[in-house]
Chain length 305, copies 2
Protein backbone atom coordinates (compact mmCIF):
# COMPACT_ATOMS: atom_id res chain seq x y z
CA UNK A 1 0.00 0.00 0.00
CA UNK A 2 1.11 3.57 -0.70
CA UNK A 3 1.92 5.77 2.27
CA UNK A 4 -1.05 7.87 3.44
CA UNK A 5 -1.36 11.30 1.81
CA UNK A 6 -0.04 14.05 4.10
CA UNK A 7 -2.70 16.68 4.78
CA UNK A 8 -2.13 20.09 6.36
CA UNK A 9 -5.30 21.45 7.99
CA UNK A 10 -5.67 25.20 8.54
CA UNK A 11 -8.44 26.34 10.89
CA UNK A 12 -9.37 24.17 13.83
CA UNK A 13 -12.90 25.58 14.25
CA UNK A 14 -16.12 23.62 13.99
CA UNK A 15 -15.69 22.73 10.31
CA UNK A 16 -12.02 21.86 10.82
CA UNK A 17 -12.87 19.67 13.82
CA UNK A 18 -15.53 17.82 11.85
CA UNK A 19 -13.02 17.32 9.02
CA UNK A 20 -10.44 15.96 11.50
CA UNK A 21 -12.92 13.50 12.94
CA UNK A 22 -14.07 12.27 9.51
CA UNK A 23 -10.50 12.10 8.13
CA UNK A 24 -9.47 9.95 11.11
CA UNK A 25 -11.59 7.17 9.61
CA UNK A 26 -9.69 7.23 6.28
CA UNK A 27 -6.50 5.15 6.24
CA UNK A 28 -5.36 6.82 3.01
CA UNK A 29 -5.06 10.21 4.79
CA UNK A 30 -2.77 11.47 7.53
CA UNK A 31 -3.58 14.93 8.88
CA UNK A 32 -0.01 15.60 9.91
CA UNK A 33 -0.41 19.19 11.14
CA UNK A 34 -3.16 21.57 12.21
CA UNK A 35 -2.41 25.28 11.88
CA UNK A 36 -3.91 27.37 14.70
CA UNK A 37 -3.71 31.09 15.48
CA UNK A 38 -0.49 30.47 17.44
CA UNK A 39 2.39 28.26 16.29
CA UNK A 40 3.82 27.76 12.80
CA UNK A 41 1.96 29.23 9.82
CA UNK A 42 0.81 27.43 6.67
CA UNK A 43 3.67 29.04 4.73
CA UNK A 44 6.26 27.90 7.28
CA UNK A 45 4.96 24.33 7.28
CA UNK A 46 4.77 24.26 3.47
CA UNK A 47 8.43 25.30 3.36
CA UNK A 48 9.31 22.08 5.20
CA UNK A 49 7.97 20.11 2.20
CA UNK A 50 6.36 16.68 1.95
CA UNK A 51 2.71 17.83 1.77
CA UNK A 52 0.08 16.43 -0.59
CA UNK A 53 -2.91 18.67 0.21
CA UNK A 54 -3.74 21.77 2.24
CA UNK A 55 -7.30 21.65 3.62
CA UNK A 56 -8.50 25.08 4.67
CA UNK A 57 -11.37 25.65 7.12
CA UNK A 58 -10.63 29.24 8.10
CA UNK A 59 -13.45 31.82 8.37
CA UNK A 60 -14.71 33.43 5.13
CA UNK A 61 -13.72 37.03 4.47
CA UNK A 62 -15.42 38.34 1.33
CA UNK A 63 -13.79 41.78 1.44
CA UNK A 64 -10.14 40.74 1.43
CA UNK A 65 -10.27 37.00 0.65
CA UNK A 66 -9.07 36.37 4.22
CA UNK A 67 -6.49 33.85 5.39
CA UNK A 68 -7.84 31.28 2.92
CA UNK A 69 -6.65 33.42 -0.01
CA UNK A 70 -3.13 33.58 1.41
CA UNK A 71 -3.22 29.83 2.06
CA UNK A 72 -4.43 29.15 -1.49
CA UNK A 73 -1.58 31.19 -2.99
CA UNK A 74 1.00 29.55 -0.72
CA UNK A 75 -0.20 25.96 -1.33
CA UNK A 76 -0.80 26.18 -5.08
CA UNK A 77 2.43 28.18 -5.52
CA UNK A 78 4.32 25.39 -3.69
CA UNK A 79 2.80 22.71 -5.94
CA UNK A 80 0.44 21.37 -3.25
CA UNK A 81 -3.29 20.70 -3.90
CA UNK A 82 -5.65 23.07 -2.09
CA UNK A 83 -9.21 22.59 -0.80
CA UNK A 84 -11.14 25.26 1.08
CA UNK A 85 -14.42 25.72 2.89
CA UNK A 86 -13.98 29.51 2.85
CA UNK A 87 -15.72 31.72 0.30
CA UNK A 88 -13.16 34.55 0.19
CA UNK A 89 -10.80 33.15 -2.47
CA UNK A 90 -13.71 32.32 -4.77
CA UNK A 91 -14.95 35.85 -5.22
CA UNK A 92 -11.67 37.75 -4.85
CA UNK A 93 -9.07 36.03 -6.98
CA UNK A 94 -10.62 32.96 -8.59
CA UNK A 95 -9.13 33.43 -12.06
CA UNK A 96 -5.59 34.04 -10.79
CA UNK A 97 -5.77 31.00 -8.48
CA UNK A 98 -6.96 28.80 -11.32
CA UNK A 99 -4.08 30.06 -13.47
CA UNK A 100 -1.60 29.42 -10.64
CA UNK A 101 -2.95 25.87 -10.20
CA UNK A 102 -2.64 25.28 -13.92
CA UNK A 103 0.96 26.46 -13.91
CA UNK A 104 1.99 24.27 -10.98
CA UNK A 105 -0.09 21.24 -12.01
CA UNK A 106 -2.15 21.30 -8.82
CA UNK A 107 -5.87 21.13 -8.09
CA UNK A 108 -8.08 23.67 -6.32
CA UNK A 109 -11.47 22.56 -4.93
CA UNK A 110 -14.04 24.39 -2.82
CA UNK A 111 -17.26 22.40 -2.60
CA UNK A 112 -17.78 23.16 1.11
CA UNK A 113 -18.04 26.85 0.19
CA UNK A 114 -20.69 26.36 -2.48
CA UNK A 115 -23.46 24.55 -0.60
CA UNK A 116 -21.75 22.37 2.05
CA UNK A 117 -23.00 18.83 1.47
CA UNK A 118 -24.92 19.82 -1.70
CA UNK A 119 -22.38 18.80 -4.34
CA UNK A 120 -22.87 21.60 -6.86
CA UNK A 121 -19.50 21.84 -8.57
CA UNK A 122 -18.75 18.10 -8.35
CA UNK A 123 -22.07 17.35 -9.96
CA UNK A 124 -21.24 19.51 -12.97
CA UNK A 125 -17.67 18.25 -13.26
CA UNK A 126 -18.24 14.51 -12.99
CA UNK A 127 -21.91 13.55 -13.18
CA UNK A 128 -22.47 15.83 -16.19
CA UNK A 129 -19.12 15.10 -17.87
CA UNK A 130 -19.42 15.59 -21.60
CA UNK A 131 -22.65 17.59 -21.43
CA UNK A 132 -22.66 21.33 -21.96
CA UNK A 133 -24.31 23.24 -19.10
CA UNK A 134 -26.44 25.95 -20.67
CA UNK A 135 -27.83 27.42 -17.42
CA UNK A 136 -27.72 26.92 -13.66
CA UNK A 137 -30.48 27.97 -11.33
CA UNK A 138 -30.38 27.43 -7.60
CA UNK A 139 -31.87 27.99 -4.18
CA UNK A 140 -28.45 28.29 -2.58
CA UNK A 141 -29.13 29.91 0.79
CA UNK A 142 -31.01 28.07 3.51
CA UNK A 143 -31.77 31.09 5.68
CA UNK A 144 -33.58 33.09 3.02
CA UNK A 145 -35.51 30.00 1.91
CA UNK A 146 -36.56 29.35 5.49
CA UNK A 147 -37.67 32.97 5.83
CA UNK A 148 -39.69 32.77 2.60
CA UNK A 149 -41.44 29.60 3.77
CA UNK A 150 -42.33 31.30 7.07
CA UNK A 151 -43.52 34.42 5.22
CA UNK A 152 -45.88 32.15 3.26
CA UNK A 153 -47.31 31.22 6.66
CA UNK A 154 -47.83 34.95 7.45
CA UNK A 155 -44.81 35.36 9.75
CA UNK A 156 -43.10 38.68 8.97
CA UNK A 157 -39.52 38.80 7.67
CA UNK A 158 -37.92 40.13 10.86
CA UNK A 159 -39.63 37.55 13.05
CA UNK A 160 -38.74 34.73 10.64
CA UNK A 161 -35.12 35.89 10.53
CA UNK A 162 -34.99 35.92 14.35
CA UNK A 163 -36.31 32.35 14.30
CA UNK A 164 -33.64 31.32 11.78
CA UNK A 165 -30.97 32.79 14.07
CA UNK A 166 -32.43 31.05 17.13
CA UNK A 167 -32.57 27.72 15.31
CA UNK A 168 -28.95 27.99 14.15
CA UNK A 169 -29.93 28.18 10.46
CA UNK A 170 -28.51 31.68 9.92
CA UNK A 171 -24.76 32.28 10.03
CA UNK A 172 -24.31 35.46 12.12
CA UNK A 173 -27.19 37.93 11.86
CA UNK A 174 -28.51 36.54 8.58
CA UNK A 175 -28.53 39.97 6.86
CA UNK A 176 -26.25 38.92 3.96
CA UNK A 177 -28.53 35.90 3.53
CA UNK A 178 -31.76 37.85 3.04
CA UNK A 179 -29.87 40.49 1.04
CA UNK A 180 -28.94 37.79 -1.50
CA UNK A 181 -25.19 38.22 -0.97
CA UNK A 182 -24.57 34.65 0.16
CA UNK A 183 -26.50 33.34 -2.85
CA UNK A 184 -24.49 35.61 -5.15
CA UNK A 185 -21.17 34.40 -3.70
CA UNK A 186 -22.06 30.75 -4.27
CA UNK A 187 -23.44 31.50 -7.73
CA UNK A 188 -20.21 33.23 -8.74
CA UNK A 189 -18.08 30.33 -7.47
CA UNK A 190 -20.19 27.69 -9.21
CA UNK A 191 -20.39 29.66 -12.47
CA UNK A 192 -16.63 30.21 -12.49
CA UNK A 193 -16.08 26.48 -11.99
CA UNK A 194 -18.64 25.41 -14.60
CA UNK A 195 -17.69 27.85 -17.36
CA UNK A 196 -14.09 28.75 -16.44
CA UNK A 197 -15.00 32.42 -16.09
CA UNK A 198 -13.63 35.09 -13.74
CA UNK A 199 -16.85 36.58 -12.39
CA UNK A 200 -16.66 38.54 -9.17
CA UNK A 201 -19.47 39.63 -6.84
CA UNK A 202 -19.65 42.94 -8.70
CA UNK A 203 -20.75 41.10 -11.84
CA UNK A 204 -23.96 39.82 -10.24
CA UNK A 205 -27.19 41.83 -10.26
CA UNK A 206 -28.52 41.12 -6.76
CA UNK A 207 -32.00 41.74 -5.37
CA UNK A 208 -32.63 40.31 -1.92
CA UNK A 209 -35.91 39.48 -0.22
CA UNK A 210 -35.97 42.36 2.30
CA UNK A 211 -38.17 44.57 0.17
CA UNK A 212 -40.50 41.78 -0.91
CA UNK A 213 -44.27 42.26 -0.59
CA UNK A 214 -45.35 39.60 1.98
CA UNK A 215 -48.69 39.35 0.24
CA UNK A 216 -46.98 38.17 -2.96
CA UNK A 217 -45.35 35.30 -1.03
CA UNK A 218 -48.66 34.25 0.51
CA UNK A 219 -50.51 34.43 -2.81
CA UNK A 220 -47.86 32.26 -4.52
CA UNK A 221 -48.18 29.64 -1.77
CA UNK A 222 -51.99 29.68 -1.92
CA UNK A 223 -51.75 29.02 -5.66
CA UNK A 224 -49.66 25.90 -4.96
CA UNK A 225 -46.32 27.47 -5.90
CA UNK A 226 -43.74 29.47 -3.98
CA UNK A 227 -41.50 32.50 -4.03
CA UNK A 228 -37.85 31.44 -3.98
CA UNK A 229 -34.64 33.48 -3.87
CA UNK A 230 -33.14 32.18 -7.10
CA UNK A 231 -29.57 32.56 -8.31
CA UNK A 232 -29.34 32.10 -12.06
CA UNK A 233 -26.36 32.12 -14.40
CA UNK A 234 -26.11 31.36 -18.10
CA UNK A 235 -23.81 32.13 -21.00
CA UNK A 236 -25.35 34.82 -23.17
CA UNK A 237 -23.78 36.74 -26.06
CA UNK A 238 -20.26 35.52 -25.30
CA UNK A 239 -20.26 36.16 -21.54
CA UNK A 240 -21.83 34.61 -18.48
CA UNK A 241 -24.65 36.66 -16.99
CA UNK A 242 -25.54 36.08 -13.34
CA UNK A 243 -28.35 37.43 -11.23
CA UNK A 244 -30.01 36.81 -7.88
CA UNK A 245 -33.62 37.77 -7.31
CA UNK A 246 -36.84 36.57 -5.71
CA UNK A 247 -38.83 34.60 -8.27
CA UNK A 248 -42.30 33.19 -8.24
CA UNK A 249 -42.24 29.52 -9.29
CA UNK A 250 -45.20 27.24 -10.04
CA UNK A 251 -45.86 24.13 -7.94
CA UNK A 252 -44.36 21.77 -10.52
CA UNK A 253 -41.11 23.74 -10.83
CA UNK A 254 -38.19 21.76 -9.36
CA UNK A 255 -37.26 24.63 -7.04
CA UNK A 256 -40.79 24.95 -5.60
CA UNK A 257 -40.35 21.81 -3.50
CA UNK A 258 -37.24 23.06 -1.69
CA UNK A 259 -38.52 23.34 1.89
CA UNK A 260 -37.27 25.31 4.87
CA UNK A 261 -33.49 25.55 5.12
CA UNK A 262 -32.90 23.06 2.29
CA UNK A 263 -31.01 23.97 -0.86
CA UNK A 264 -31.18 22.84 -4.48
CA UNK A 265 -29.57 23.44 -7.83
CA UNK A 266 -30.84 22.80 -11.34
CA UNK A 267 -28.53 22.26 -14.30
CA UNK A 268 -29.90 22.77 -17.81
CA UNK A 269 -27.78 20.83 -20.27
CA UNK A 270 -27.65 20.35 -24.02
CA UNK A 271 -27.73 16.54 -24.12
CA UNK A 272 -28.94 15.32 -20.72
CA UNK A 273 -31.93 17.58 -20.18
CA UNK A 274 -32.61 19.31 -16.87
CA UNK A 275 -31.25 17.77 -13.66
CA UNK A 276 -32.02 18.95 -10.14
CA UNK A 277 -30.09 18.10 -7.02
CA UNK A 278 -31.64 18.92 -3.65
CA UNK A 279 -31.10 18.38 0.05
CA UNK A 280 -27.84 17.82 1.87
CA UNK A 281 -27.03 18.94 5.37
CA UNK A 282 -25.46 22.34 5.83
CA UNK A 283 -24.09 22.16 9.39
CA UNK A 284 -20.36 22.18 10.27
CA UNK A 285 -20.22 18.37 10.04
CA UNK A 286 -21.58 18.50 6.48
CA UNK A 287 -19.09 21.24 5.58
CA UNK A 288 -16.32 19.06 7.06
CA UNK A 289 -17.59 16.15 4.94
CA UNK A 290 -17.51 18.37 1.84
CA UNK A 291 -13.92 19.37 2.61
CA UNK A 292 -13.05 15.69 2.98
CA UNK A 293 -14.72 15.00 -0.41
CA UNK A 294 -12.55 17.70 -1.98
CA UNK A 295 -9.37 16.26 -0.49
CA UNK A 296 -10.23 12.73 -1.67
CA UNK A 297 -11.08 13.93 -5.18
CA UNK A 298 -7.86 15.97 -5.39
CA UNK A 299 -5.86 12.87 -4.50
CA UNK A 300 -7.81 10.61 -6.83
CA UNK A 301 -8.39 12.87 -9.83
CA UNK A 302 -5.73 15.56 -9.48
CA UNK A 303 -6.01 18.88 -11.30
CA UNK A 304 -9.19 19.84 -13.09
CA UNK A 305 -9.44 18.63 -16.67
Amino acid sequence: MRRPARVLLAGPGRVGSAFLELAAGRPELEVAAVVRSTGPTVAELLAEGGWDVVADATPSDLATGGPALAHARAALGAGVHFATAAKGPLVRDHGALRELARRTGTGFRFSAATGAALPTVDMAEFALAGARVVAIEGVLNGTSNYVLDRMAESVDLEAALAEARRRGIADGDGRPDVAGVDTAVKLVAIANAVWGTDLTLEDVAVTGIEGLDPDLVRRAARAGGAVRLVGRAAPEDGRVRAKVRPSRVAGDHPLAGVRGADKAITFETDSMGRLTLSGGRSDPRAAGAALLRDVLLLLRVGPRA
Copy 2:
Protein backbone atom coordinates in the same frame (compact mmCIF):
# COMPACT_ATOMS: atom_id res chain seq x y z
CA MET B 1 -1.38 17.68 -27.09
CA ARG B 2 -1.75 13.95 -26.53
CA ARG B 3 -3.14 11.86 -29.36
CA PRO B 4 -6.92 11.38 -29.18
CA ALA B 5 -8.07 8.29 -27.26
CA ARG B 6 -9.03 5.45 -29.61
CA VAL B 7 -12.60 4.34 -29.02
CA LEU B 8 -14.20 1.17 -30.39
CA LEU B 9 -18.00 1.46 -30.59
CA ALA B 10 -20.15 -1.67 -30.62
CA GLY B 11 -23.78 -1.27 -31.62
CA PRO B 12 -24.71 1.33 -34.22
CA GLY B 13 -28.37 1.63 -33.15
CA ARG B 14 -30.08 4.77 -31.88
CA VAL B 15 -27.94 5.05 -28.73
CA GLY B 16 -24.75 4.27 -30.63
CA SER B 17 -25.61 6.87 -33.30
CA ALA B 18 -26.25 9.51 -30.64
CA PHE B 19 -22.91 8.61 -29.04
CA LEU B 20 -21.15 8.95 -32.38
CA GLU B 21 -22.65 12.34 -33.00
CA LEU B 22 -21.77 13.64 -29.52
CA ALA B 23 -18.26 12.12 -29.61
CA ALA B 24 -17.59 13.86 -32.92
CA GLY B 25 -17.55 17.13 -30.98
CA ARG B 26 -14.78 15.96 -28.62
CA PRO B 27 -11.25 16.45 -29.96
CA GLU B 28 -9.83 14.15 -27.26
CA LEU B 29 -11.73 11.16 -28.72
CA GLU B 30 -11.42 9.28 -31.99
CA VAL B 31 -14.10 6.66 -32.64
CA ALA B 32 -11.85 4.57 -34.86
CA ALA B 33 -14.20 1.64 -35.53
CA VAL B 34 -17.89 0.81 -35.28
CA VAL B 35 -18.78 -2.86 -34.92
CA ARG B 36 -21.96 -3.83 -36.79
CA SER B 37 -23.70 -7.17 -37.25
CA THR B 38 -21.53 -7.84 -40.29
CA GLY B 39 -17.79 -7.21 -40.50
CA PRO B 40 -15.07 -7.70 -37.88
CA THR B 41 -16.12 -8.48 -34.29
CA VAL B 42 -15.12 -6.66 -31.12
CA ALA B 43 -12.74 -9.53 -30.25
CA GLU B 44 -11.09 -9.40 -33.68
CA LEU B 45 -10.60 -5.64 -33.50
CA LEU B 46 -9.31 -5.83 -29.92
CA ALA B 47 -6.70 -8.36 -31.08
CA GLU B 48 -5.29 -5.69 -33.40
CA GLY B 49 -4.37 -3.63 -30.31
CA GLY B 50 -4.12 0.14 -29.78
CA TRP B 51 -7.53 0.67 -28.18
CA ASP B 52 -8.22 2.87 -25.13
CA VAL B 53 -11.94 2.23 -24.55
CA VAL B 54 -14.72 0.00 -25.84
CA ALA B 55 -18.10 1.78 -25.80
CA ASP B 56 -20.97 -0.68 -26.01
CA ALA B 57 -24.47 0.27 -27.14
CA THR B 58 -25.81 -3.18 -28.00
CA PRO B 59 -29.34 -4.22 -26.95
CA SER B 60 -29.88 -5.41 -23.36
CA ASP B 61 -30.38 -9.14 -22.78
CA LEU B 62 -31.16 -9.84 -19.14
CA ALA B 63 -31.37 -13.62 -19.55
CA THR B 64 -27.91 -14.27 -20.99
CA GLY B 65 -26.09 -10.95 -20.54
CA GLY B 66 -26.19 -10.58 -24.33
CA PRO B 67 -23.41 -9.35 -26.64
CA ALA B 68 -22.48 -6.70 -24.07
CA LEU B 69 -21.34 -9.37 -21.62
CA ALA B 70 -19.04 -10.93 -24.22
CA HIS B 71 -17.73 -7.47 -25.13
CA ALA B 72 -17.10 -6.67 -21.47
CA ARG B 73 -15.08 -9.86 -20.96
CA ALA B 74 -13.12 -9.29 -24.16
CA ALA B 75 -12.31 -5.63 -23.48
CA LEU B 76 -11.49 -5.89 -19.77
CA GLY B 77 -9.55 -9.11 -20.39
CA ALA B 78 -7.48 -7.30 -23.03
CA GLY B 79 -6.71 -4.42 -20.64
CA VAL B 80 -9.08 -1.96 -22.37
CA HIS B 81 -11.59 0.20 -20.44
CA PHE B 82 -15.23 -0.73 -21.01
CA ALA B 83 -18.42 1.37 -20.92
CA THR B 84 -21.87 -0.01 -21.70
CA ALA B 85 -25.44 1.18 -22.10
CA ALA B 86 -26.71 -2.43 -21.87
CA LYS B 87 -28.14 -3.86 -18.65
CA GLY B 88 -27.24 -7.54 -19.23
CA PRO B 89 -23.70 -7.56 -17.83
CA LEU B 90 -24.84 -5.74 -14.68
CA VAL B 91 -27.23 -8.40 -13.47
CA ARG B 92 -25.51 -11.49 -14.88
CA ASP B 93 -21.84 -11.29 -14.02
CA HIS B 94 -21.17 -8.01 -12.25
CA GLY B 95 -18.85 -9.38 -9.56
CA ALA B 96 -16.68 -11.35 -11.99
CA LEU B 97 -16.38 -8.36 -14.34
CA ARG B 98 -15.34 -6.11 -11.46
CA GLU B 99 -12.72 -8.67 -10.44
CA LEU B 100 -11.47 -8.93 -14.04
CA ALA B 101 -11.22 -5.12 -14.27
CA ARG B 102 -9.30 -5.04 -10.98
CA ARG B 103 -6.86 -7.66 -12.23
CA THR B 104 -6.17 -5.90 -15.55
CA GLY B 105 -6.17 -2.38 -14.09
CA THR B 106 -9.08 -1.27 -16.26
CA GLY B 107 -12.33 0.57 -15.54
CA PHE B 108 -15.91 -0.56 -16.12
CA ARG B 109 -18.72 2.02 -16.24
CA PHE B 110 -22.42 1.67 -17.08
CA SER B 111 -24.25 4.88 -16.25
CA ALA B 112 -26.40 4.76 -19.42
CA ALA B 113 -27.89 1.48 -18.13
CA THR B 114 -28.84 2.83 -14.72
CA GLY B 115 -30.99 5.83 -15.58
CA ALA B 116 -29.65 7.27 -18.86
CA ALA B 117 -28.91 10.93 -18.18
CA LEU B 118 -29.74 10.61 -14.46
CA PRO B 119 -26.22 10.18 -13.06
CA THR B 120 -26.91 7.66 -10.28
CA VAL B 121 -23.61 5.82 -9.94
CA ASP B 122 -21.47 8.86 -10.76
CA MET B 123 -23.26 10.84 -8.10
CA ALA B 124 -22.39 8.27 -5.43
CA GLU B 125 -18.82 7.81 -6.61
CA PHE B 126 -17.76 11.43 -7.01
CA ALA B 127 -20.24 13.88 -5.54
CA LEU B 128 -20.58 11.83 -2.34
CA ALA B 129 -16.89 10.85 -2.12
CA GLY B 130 -15.96 10.20 1.50
CA ALA B 131 -19.54 9.85 2.72
CA ARG B 132 -20.98 6.44 3.54
CA VAL B 133 -24.23 5.71 1.69
CA VAL B 134 -26.58 4.08 4.19
CA ALA B 135 -29.56 3.66 1.84
CA ILE B 136 -30.67 4.38 -1.71
CA GLU B 137 -34.25 4.87 -2.75
CA GLY B 138 -35.33 5.63 -6.27
CA VAL B 139 -38.05 6.09 -8.84
CA LEU B 140 -35.98 4.47 -11.57
CA ASN B 141 -38.50 3.62 -14.29
CA GLY B 142 -40.25 6.32 -16.26
CA THR B 143 -43.00 4.14 -17.73
CA SER B 144 -44.36 2.90 -14.39
CA ASN B 145 -44.17 6.40 -12.94
CA TYR B 146 -46.10 7.77 -15.91
CA VAL B 147 -48.71 5.03 -15.50
CA LEU B 148 -49.08 5.79 -11.77
CA ASP B 149 -49.56 9.51 -12.49
CA ARG B 150 -52.25 8.66 -15.04
CA MET B 151 -53.92 6.22 -12.63
CA ALA B 152 -54.12 9.10 -10.13
CA GLU B 153 -56.16 10.86 -12.82
CA SER B 154 -58.48 7.85 -13.05
CA VAL B 155 -57.06 6.35 -16.24
CA ASP B 156 -56.80 2.58 -15.86
CA LEU B 157 -53.45 0.78 -15.99
CA GLU B 158 -53.90 -0.81 -19.42
CA ALA B 159 -54.99 2.43 -21.04
CA ALA B 160 -52.14 4.34 -19.38
CA LEU B 161 -49.63 1.74 -20.53
CA ALA B 162 -50.97 1.99 -24.09
CA GLU B 163 -50.49 5.76 -23.87
CA ALA B 164 -46.90 5.28 -22.64
CA ARG B 165 -46.22 3.03 -25.65
CA ARG B 166 -47.82 5.51 -28.02
CA ARG B 167 -45.79 8.39 -26.60
CA GLY B 168 -42.51 6.47 -26.85
CA ILE B 169 -42.00 6.39 -23.09
CA ALA B 170 -42.17 2.58 -22.81
CA ASP B 171 -39.39 0.41 -24.24
CA GLY B 172 -41.18 -2.44 -26.05
CA ASP B 173 -44.50 -3.42 -24.54
CA GLY B 174 -43.78 -1.89 -21.13
CA ARG B 175 -44.64 -5.12 -19.23
CA PRO B 176 -41.23 -5.43 -17.50
CA ASP B 177 -41.63 -1.77 -16.52
CA VAL B 178 -44.94 -2.15 -14.69
CA ALA B 179 -43.81 -5.54 -13.30
CA GLY B 180 -40.94 -3.74 -11.53
CA VAL B 181 -38.24 -5.71 -13.38
CA ASP B 182 -36.59 -2.68 -14.99
CA THR B 183 -36.49 -0.93 -11.60
CA ALA B 184 -34.96 -4.05 -10.02
CA VAL B 185 -32.26 -4.27 -12.70
CA LYS B 186 -31.20 -0.67 -12.18
CA LEU B 187 -31.36 -1.05 -8.40
CA VAL B 188 -29.08 -4.11 -8.52
CA ALA B 189 -26.55 -2.32 -10.74
CA ILE B 190 -26.49 0.81 -8.57
CA ALA B 191 -26.28 -1.16 -5.31
CA ASN B 192 -23.43 -3.29 -6.65
CA ALA B 193 -21.54 -0.15 -7.65
CA VAL B 194 -22.21 1.70 -4.38
CA TRP B 195 -21.46 -1.15 -1.97
CA GLY B 196 -19.24 -3.43 -4.06
CA THR B 197 -21.71 -6.29 -3.73
CA ASP B 198 -22.63 -9.08 -6.17
CA LEU B 199 -26.41 -8.90 -6.09
CA THR B 200 -28.31 -10.44 -8.98
CA LEU B 201 -31.95 -9.99 -9.98
CA GLU B 202 -32.88 -13.05 -7.90
CA ASP B 203 -31.80 -11.19 -4.74
CA VAL B 204 -34.47 -8.51 -5.15
CA ALA B 205 -37.97 -8.89 -3.75
CA VAL B 206 -40.06 -7.37 -6.54
CA THR B 207 -43.70 -6.27 -6.47
CA GLY B 208 -44.90 -4.42 -9.56
CA ILE B 209 -47.84 -2.10 -9.99
CA GLU B 210 -50.08 -4.44 -12.03
CA GLY B 211 -52.08 -5.62 -9.05
CA LEU B 212 -52.36 -2.21 -7.44
CA ASP B 213 -55.78 -0.98 -6.28
CA PRO B 214 -56.46 2.11 -8.49
CA ASP B 215 -58.45 3.64 -5.66
CA LEU B 216 -55.33 3.65 -3.44
CA VAL B 217 -53.47 5.68 -6.10
CA ARG B 218 -56.31 8.21 -6.38
CA ARG B 219 -56.65 8.56 -2.61
CA ALA B 220 -52.90 9.18 -2.20
CA ALA B 221 -53.04 11.92 -4.85
CA ARG B 222 -56.14 13.54 -3.31
CA ALA B 223 -54.26 13.69 0.01
CA GLY B 224 -51.45 15.65 -1.70
CA GLY B 225 -49.05 12.69 -1.92
CA ALA B 226 -48.53 9.94 -4.48
CA VAL B 227 -47.98 6.24 -5.01
CA ARG B 228 -44.53 5.61 -6.50
CA LEU B 229 -42.85 2.39 -7.62
CA VAL B 230 -39.85 2.62 -5.30
CA GLY B 231 -36.64 0.61 -5.46
CA ARG B 232 -34.85 0.61 -2.14
CA ALA B 233 -31.55 -0.92 -1.08
CA ALA B 234 -29.63 -0.69 2.18
CA PRO B 235 -26.98 -2.65 4.05
CA GLU B 236 -28.62 -4.59 6.88
CA ASP B 237 -27.06 -7.24 9.13
CA GLY B 238 -23.95 -7.62 7.01
CA ARG B 239 -25.61 -7.85 3.58
CA VAL B 240 -27.39 -5.50 1.19
CA ARG B 241 -31.15 -5.99 1.06
CA ALA B 242 -32.99 -4.75 -2.01
CA LYS B 243 -36.67 -4.55 -2.81
CA VAL B 244 -39.00 -2.97 -5.33
CA ARG B 245 -42.59 -2.20 -4.44
CA PRO B 246 -45.30 0.43 -4.84
CA SER B 247 -45.10 2.83 -1.88
CA ARG B 248 -47.37 5.61 -0.77
CA VAL B 249 -45.34 8.78 -0.13
CA ALA B 250 -46.48 12.05 1.46
CA GLY B 251 -46.44 15.30 -0.50
CA ASP B 252 -43.21 16.54 1.11
CA HIS B 253 -41.31 13.31 0.36
CA PRO B 254 -38.58 13.94 -2.25
CA LEU B 255 -39.95 11.19 -4.50
CA ALA B 256 -43.51 12.57 -4.48
CA GLY B 257 -42.55 15.38 -6.85
CA VAL B 258 -41.24 13.06 -9.59
CA ARG B 259 -43.74 13.69 -12.38
CA GLY B 260 -44.68 11.65 -15.40
CA ALA B 261 -41.80 9.80 -17.03
CA ASP B 262 -39.18 11.53 -14.87
CA LYS B 263 -36.84 9.60 -12.60
CA ALA B 264 -35.14 10.37 -9.29
CA ILE B 265 -32.82 8.83 -6.73
CA THR B 266 -32.26 9.66 -3.07
CA PHE B 267 -29.05 8.86 -1.24
CA GLU B 268 -29.09 8.69 2.55
CA THR B 269 -25.58 9.29 3.87
CA ASP B 270 -23.85 9.32 7.23
CA SER B 271 -22.23 12.77 7.02
CA MET B 272 -23.96 14.67 4.21
CA GLY B 273 -27.60 14.01 5.05
CA ARG B 274 -30.13 13.08 2.40
CA LEU B 275 -29.57 14.13 -1.23
CA THR B 276 -32.03 13.73 -4.07
CA LEU B 277 -31.24 13.92 -7.76
CA SER B 278 -34.11 14.17 -10.21
CA GLY B 279 -34.81 14.76 -13.89
CA GLY B 280 -32.57 14.00 -16.81
CA ARG B 281 -33.72 12.95 -20.26
CA SER B 282 -34.08 9.26 -20.98
CA ASP B 283 -34.21 9.14 -24.78
CA PRO B 284 -31.51 7.59 -27.01
CA ARG B 285 -29.65 10.91 -27.18
CA ALA B 286 -29.48 11.06 -23.37
CA ALA B 287 -28.31 7.44 -23.23
CA GLY B 288 -25.64 8.32 -25.81
CA ALA B 289 -24.63 11.28 -23.65
CA ALA B 290 -24.37 8.99 -20.62
CA LEU B 291 -22.16 6.60 -22.59
CA LEU B 292 -19.97 9.56 -23.58
CA ARG B 293 -19.79 10.61 -19.88
CA ASP B 294 -18.58 7.10 -18.99
CA VAL B 295 -15.92 7.13 -21.70
CA LEU B 296 -14.65 10.56 -20.61
CA LEU B 297 -14.55 9.54 -16.93
CA LEU B 298 -12.73 6.30 -17.75
CA LEU B 299 -10.07 8.28 -19.61
CA ARG B 300 -9.79 10.94 -16.94
CA VAL B 301 -10.13 8.92 -13.74
CA GLY B 302 -9.27 5.38 -14.82
CA PRO B 303 -10.27 2.38 -12.73
CA ARG B 304 -12.61 2.74 -9.79
CA ALA B 305 -10.91 3.63 -6.50
